[in-house]
C-alpha cells in the first residue's frame, strides 16, 4: 500500500521538474544554491556569535590574557590553578553543587504535588494554571527586588511574623553567610516552579483516565495512585526536566548576581558570578575563559551521565 502511495506522489509536482530540467546549471542552482541562500544568513550569525567565540575560549583558556592585546600562552596553568589552588573556585563549585541538590528536589516536589492536585479538578483549572505560571514571566530583577524587601528583617515577612509573636524569622536572610545562598535559591524557585508545574500538568493530562478508575476500584489510596500511576505516567517529562535543571544549575547567574553579587564574603559565590568577576572586574579574561569552559564541561558531564545510564538500560 505504502509503495503505491509513494509511486503516485511525483505526479502533482511533475510540471515542477520539467521546469527545473531546462539546464543542468539551473537545476543545480535550484537544488543547492537557493535552499542554502535561505539558511545561510542565520547560520553565519550563529557561527560568529556562538561557535567561533566558543572555540576561541578553548585557546584563551590556555593563556594569561587581560582582554586587551595578545595573551601569553601558559599551557594548562589556569587549569592547575582551578584544580589545586583557587579557593574561590572551590567554594563556588561547592555552592553550585548545593544549588543542584536544592533544585533537583524542592521545585520537583512542589510542582509534582501542585500538578497532581490540579490534574484532578476541572472547574477553574485554567485559572489556577495561568495564575501559578505568572511568576515565571516576570523579569529576574523584579522578582529579586520584591523578595529582597520581603526577606528584609525590618519590613519583610519576618518582621510581620515577629509582630504577631512568631519570632526568630526576622533576620537578614540575604545578608548572613549561613542563609544567603539558600535564600537566593528560594527566590529563584519562587519564579521557576510554576513553569515546571505546567509541564508536569500537561504531561499528566496525557495519562489515560481508565488507569485511575481501575486503581480506585481496587481501593488504591491517593498516594498509591500518585506513586504507581501518575509518576510512571509522566516519567519521561520528569527525567528530561531533571536533566535540564541539572545543566542549568551549573550556569546560574542572574539571581545570585542581582541579590548578593556572590556575597557576603563570597558565601553565595557560584561559577557564573566568578566568571563575570574575573573577566570584567579583575581583567583576567584568560582565566575567566578557563572557568567558563569547566562550567560547560560540568554541564556536558551531566549529559554524558544521563546517556550512559540510559545505555545501561535504566528506563530514563
Amino acid at each position: 500500500m505504502a509503495n503505491s502511495d509513494q509511486a503516485a506522489m511525483p505526479t502533482p509536482s511533475a510540471p515542477l521538474s520539467r521546469q527545473d530540467g531546462r539546464s543542468p546549471w539551473k537545476r543545480r542552482y535550484r537544488k543547492y544554491v537557493v535552499p542554502w541562500m535561505f539558511a545561510l544568513p542565520i547560520l553565519l550569525i550563529n557561527i560568529i556569535v556562538v561557535i567561533g567565540p566558543s572555540l576561541s575560549a578553548v585557546y584563551y583558556s590556555l593563556t594569561d590574557w587581560s582582554g586587551i592585546g595578545a595573551g601569553e600562552f601558559i599551557g594548562l596553568e589556569n587549569y592547575r590553578k582551578i584544580l589545586f589552588s583557587d579557593m574561590d573556585y572551590r567554594r563556588a563549585f561547592l555552592n553550585n553543587l548545593a544549588w543542584l541538590a536544592f533544585f533537583l528536589t524542592v521545585p520537583f516536589a512542589v510542582s509534582l504535588f501542585a500538578a497532581s492536585m490540579l490534574a484532578r479538578i476541572r472547574r477553574g483549572s485554567m485559572f489556577f494554571r495561568t495564575a501559578l505560571f505568572i511568576p515565571y514571566v516576570l523579569p529576574a530583577v523584579i522578582t529579586a527586588s520584591i523578595w529582597r524587601n520581603l526577606l528584609s528583617p525590618t519590613l519583610g515577612i519576618g518582621a510581620l511574623l515577629a509582630d504577631w509573636g512568631i519570632s526568630g524569622l526576622d533576620v537578614a536572610w540575604l545578608g548572613r553567610p549561613q542563609t544567603a545562598l539558600i535564600s537566593i535559591a528560594f527566590v529563584d524557585n519562587w519564579h521557576f516552579w510554576g513553569f515546571l508545574m505546567v509541564l508536569f500538568l500537561s504531561a499528566m493530562q496525557g495519562i489515560p483516565p481508565e488507569l485511575y478508575e481501575a486503581a480506585r476500584i481496587d481501593g488504591a489510596s491517593r498516594w498509591q495512585e500518585f506513586r504507581h500511576i501518575t509518576v510512571p505516567g509522566i516519567r519521561p517529562t520528569i527525567v528530561f526536566m531533571l536533566l535540564m535543571v541539572a545543566i542549568w544549575s551549573f550556569l546560574v547567574f542572574d539571581y545570585v548576581w542581582i541579590l548578593t553579587q556572590g556575597g557576603p564574603a563570597g558565601s553565595s559565590e557560584v561559577l557564573g558570578t566568578l566568571v563575570y568577576k574575573q573577566a570584567f572586574m579583575r581583567f583576567e579574561a584568560g582565566y575567566a575563559s578557563a572557568i567558563g569552559l569547566t562550567m560547560s564541561l560540568l554541564a556536558g558531564m551531566v549529559i554524558s551521565l544521563f546517556l550512559y545510564l540510559r545505555r545501561r538500560g535504566w528506563e530514563i
Binding site: Q19, F38, V50, A114, P135, I142, D254, I291
Partner: protein
C-alpha cells in the same frame, strides 16, 4: 443520583482547592504587595509594609518614571525586542523553510549544529565574544546586542517553525510554483500567511526573553543612555533600595505590559515557553 454524585465529588476535591489557593497566595502574594506599595509613601510603608494602602500616592509613578529614565530605557528595550524578533522571524523563518520545504542538502547536519550550538552555555562564549565585539565597535551598541540575541534565540525559533511548516500541506506552494513563483515569493506570499500562529508564538517567546534578559544586556550595554528597562531597574534598585515605594512603582510600570500581554495571549505564551523557549 447524578447530582448527588457530583456533589460528593466536589466535596472530595475541597482539599485540592484549598491547597491550590494557598499556592496561589504564595505565587501572587508578592506581586500584590508590590501593587500595594507602589501607591504608598515611604513613611506609610514603614508603618505598614505588607498590607493594603490606606491613602493613594499616585505621584510615585511619574516620579519613578522620571528618576528611572523610563522614556529612554523603554525605547532601548523596544528597539532590542523589535529588532531581535523581526530578525529571528525573518532569518529563522527562512532557515526553517529551507529545512522543511526545500530539502536543504545537508539539512540534518545543520539541525545537529543548531542543537549543539543552542546547548552551549552563554558563559562559555561570553568572554571571547565581548572582546571580539569591543574590537568591532559593537559594545555599547544596540545593533551589536541584537545580533547576539538573534544568534542565541534562533535555534529555538528554527526548530519550532520547522516543525510547524512540515505540517502544512504542500499543495498551495506547488500551485504557486506551477504559476511561476520563485521560492522567495512562495515563502513570503504563501508560507508566511499560512503559518502566522507559529510565528506569533515564537515572536512572543523571543520578545519576552529579550525584554527580561539581564546578563548579556549588563555586559554589552554599560553606558547609561543605552540601559534597558531591566538593567536600568537593577541600577535604580541599587541606588534607591531604601525607597520601597519608588522601586515598587517602577516595578509595576515594568511588569504591567508583560502581564497584560501574557494574560491576553496566555495559551500561546504557555505553549511556546513550555516547548523550550527560555532557561529557568
Amino acid at each position: 443520583m447524578k447530582r448527588l454524585f457530583r456533589q460528593r465529588r466536589d466535596i472530595s476535591l475541597l482539599p485540592n482547592y484549598i491547597l491550590l489557593i494557598i499556592l496561589i497566595l504564595f505565587a501572587l502574594g508578592p506581586v500584590v504587595v508590590v501593587g500595594f506599595n507602589s501607591v504608598k509613601d515611604a513613611a506609610s510603608i514603614g508603618r505598614n509594609p505588607l498590607g493594603p494602602p490606606t491613602e493613594f500616592k499616585w505621584q510615585n509613578f511619574p516620579q519613578a518614571w522620571e528618576i528611572g529614565n523610563f522614556s529612554t530605557t523603554t525605547r532601548n528595550s523596544l528597539i532590542l525586542v523589535v529588532g531581535t524578533v523581526t530578525s529571528v522571524l525573518a532569518l529563522g523563518g527562512m532557515a526553517a523553510y529551507a529545512l522543511a520545504r526545500l530539502k536543504l542538502p545537508g539539512g540534518g547536519l545543520l539541525m545537529l549544529y543548531l542543537l549543539v550550538g543552542s546547548s552551549l552555555p552563554v558563559q562559555l562564549f561570553l568572554v571571547p565574544l565581548f572582546f571580539l565585539w569591543r574590537h568591532l565597535g559593537l559594545v555599547n551598541n544596540l545593533f551589536g546586542l541584537i545580533i547576539i540575541y538573534v544568534a542565541v534565540h534562533s535555534p529555538f525559533a528554527i526548530f519550532l517553525l520547522r516543525s510547524y511548516l512540515v505540517g502544512i500541506p504542500p499543495d498551495f506552494e506547488d500551485a504557486a510554483r506551477v504559476d511561476g513563483a520563485n521560492e522567495w515569493q512562495v515563502f513570503t506570499v504563501i508560507i508566511l500567511p499560512l503559518s502566522w500562529p507559529a510565528f506569533l508564538t515564537v515572536g512572543l517567546v523571543v520578545g519576552l526573553g529579550v525584554w527580561n534578559e539581564f546578563l548579556l544586556a549588563t555586559v554589552f550595554l554599560t553606558e547609561q543612555h543605552l540601559f534597558t528597562v531591566v538593567t536600568s531597574y537593577y541600577n535604580f534598585t541599587s541606588r534607591f533600595s531604601r525607597d520601597w515605594s519608588l522601586t515598587s512603582a517602577a516595578a509595576v510600570m515594568m511588569i504591567a505590559p508583560i502581564l497584560i500581554l501574557f494574560l491576553t495571549l496566555q495559551r500561546r505564551f504557555i505553549a511556546g515557553l513550555t516547548q523550550g523557549g527560555l532557561k529557568g
